[in-house]
Amino acid sequence: MAENNNLLVKLDNCGVYKSSKWIVRGISLEIHKGEIVTLIGPNGSGKTTSAKMILKILKSDEGQIKNFASKMAYVPQKINIDWTMPLRVVDFMKLTSHINNLEIVDALKLTGVDNLLYNDIHNLSGGEFQRVLIARAIAKKPDLLVLDEPVQGVDFNGEIALYNLIKKICSTLNCGILLISHDLHFVMSATDHVICLNGHICCSGTPRSIVKNSAYIELFGEHNATTLSLYQHNHDHSHETDGRVTNNV
């Protein structure tokens, strides 16, 4: 029973049918507390659609969804905020929750953008906005966190730092994390379970087993599959999001 208590969401053979075709079908997965599940797949493979089923934004047209999460937080792939809406970072952080400025600053510090608290959201760079999005979701202290391509537009070193942060958040909040990515390159070290999508689940397993899976190699090509293995090495130091070297790896 102990394992069941940790279950946050369970999809059993779910799918979404839209404009007379199945966007995704036959999706079965489980996310537990303290676990990072990564969805990978090419464009249009239904990663975001699957995430939206889990988040209860879309209804599943078949199968069964059980959602035990009491608080979910979402980092969408794309947000366009109209100019007509005057919005500062601090307003955006409070969008769906009542949190005080101290908690907001703490969350922004984690992603290295606490200096932007009173900035106009329309003047942020793509990478800065992405960091604010992640900080907003973390500040909610969710038990299920869904991140859709969370590091797009973030520079190379920042990407690694943010993935390390996501991993850290997973253990400190003991929350379940669903991560969507179109490449496994950086996600590797931070994920417990990989699900490879292409309209259906192609294959799934631990990151190491996935890169050797023939279905995965067929989907992403030999070249990408081998680049992945190159990343399996360790640094003796790491960087803060602003580039400072730290040693607490």
Binding site: L55, A73, P76, I79, T84, L87, R88, L95
Partner: protein
């Protein structure tokens, strides 16, 4: 008793009644107008107010309460629109036009049948704020209080859905519920103000103060406050102007709002120059 007497005298003056009613409308229009601008719903507002004409005609035909009848018709049109959007592939603006003009036309056709009643079409299109009585004022303030109270309770959900619907839905804000209620509130503000501002100018009183506020505010809360103030100032100044130079009151209010809008562009202009 003396105070009651003074209050009585105050309400006896048609101009004071107009001021009180107008200020009430402006206060309701402030926050709703901001949402209309943020959600790009100005044509939606237009459609609702055009259909309000049908509501008024029906009210006269069946000797119904005008405010109530307009509210019902606006709400029905709003729900019809949402339903049509799901069924056809026509773009939103085409559907809005279709509903706006067909309800307007039905309203005008029905007016033709109402030969027994002298019908003030101009009054309907442009409103007559100087003709409001104490009952109208009571309806505006009671209805307005209800609208603002409901808005206060659904604000967080509505606002988050305005920024991003998926995010709001995923994080348990129930945006589908607040969106539906918001549509009814919009129908409500139109019903409350049709007698005073008229079917053609209501959207102006919703939009222009919010547009003024956008030019000079940096947070949503600030924008709502400034929009409300700008609306109140427009009503007061517009009414005094209309009294002074004998112009029709509704249009005068909108013209004053437009002047305020032009003035509100100046800080933007200066900021732009400084940044160069």
């Amino acid at each position: 008793m003396k105070q009651m007497g003074e209050l009585q005298i105050m309400f006896d003056d048609f101009f004071t009644r107009a001021l009180i009613a107008g200020i009430g409308i402006a206060i309701i229009a402030g926050p709703l107008g901001c949402l209309v601008i943020w959600r790009r719903l100005s044509y939606f507002g237009d459609t609702l107010s055009h259909s309000a004409l049908l509501g008024v005609t029906l009210a006269y035909s069946f000797s119904f309460n005008i405010t109530f009848s307009v509210f019902i018709i606006s709400a029905v049109v709003a729900l019809l629109l949402i339903n049509l959007q799901k069924r056809t592939k026509l773009a939103g603006d085409s559907l809005l036009g279709l509903l706006a003009h067909s309800t307007l036309a039905i309203g005008l056709v029905l007016i033709g049948f109402l030969t027994s009643i002298r019908f003030d079409l101009m009054g309907l299109l442009f409103g007559d704020i100087l003709a409001v009585d104490v009952e109208d004022i009571t309806i505006v303030y009671l209805g307005g209080a209800a609208i603002l109270l409901i808005l206060y309770f659904i604000w967080k959900s509505l606002f988050s859905a305005t920024v991003n619907y998926d995010l709001s839905a995923a994080e348990g804000m129930r945006p589908e519920v607040s969106n539906f209620i918001f549509t009814l509130l919009l129908a409500g503000v139109i019903a409350l103000s049709i007698k005073m501002i008229g079917a053609l100018l209501i959207t102006g009183l919703l939009l222009i103060p919010a547009a003024i506020a956008r030019n000079i505010s940096s947070s949503p809360r600030q924008m709502v406050i400034i929009a409300t103030l700008a609306g109140v100032i427009s009503v007061i100044a517009g009414l005094f102007v209309s009294l002074e130079i004998n112009t029709s009151s509704g249009p005068s209010i909108i013209v004053v709002a437009l002047l305020l809008f032009i003035i509100s562009l100046i800080p933007l202009e200066i900021k732009g120059q400084l940044q160069k």
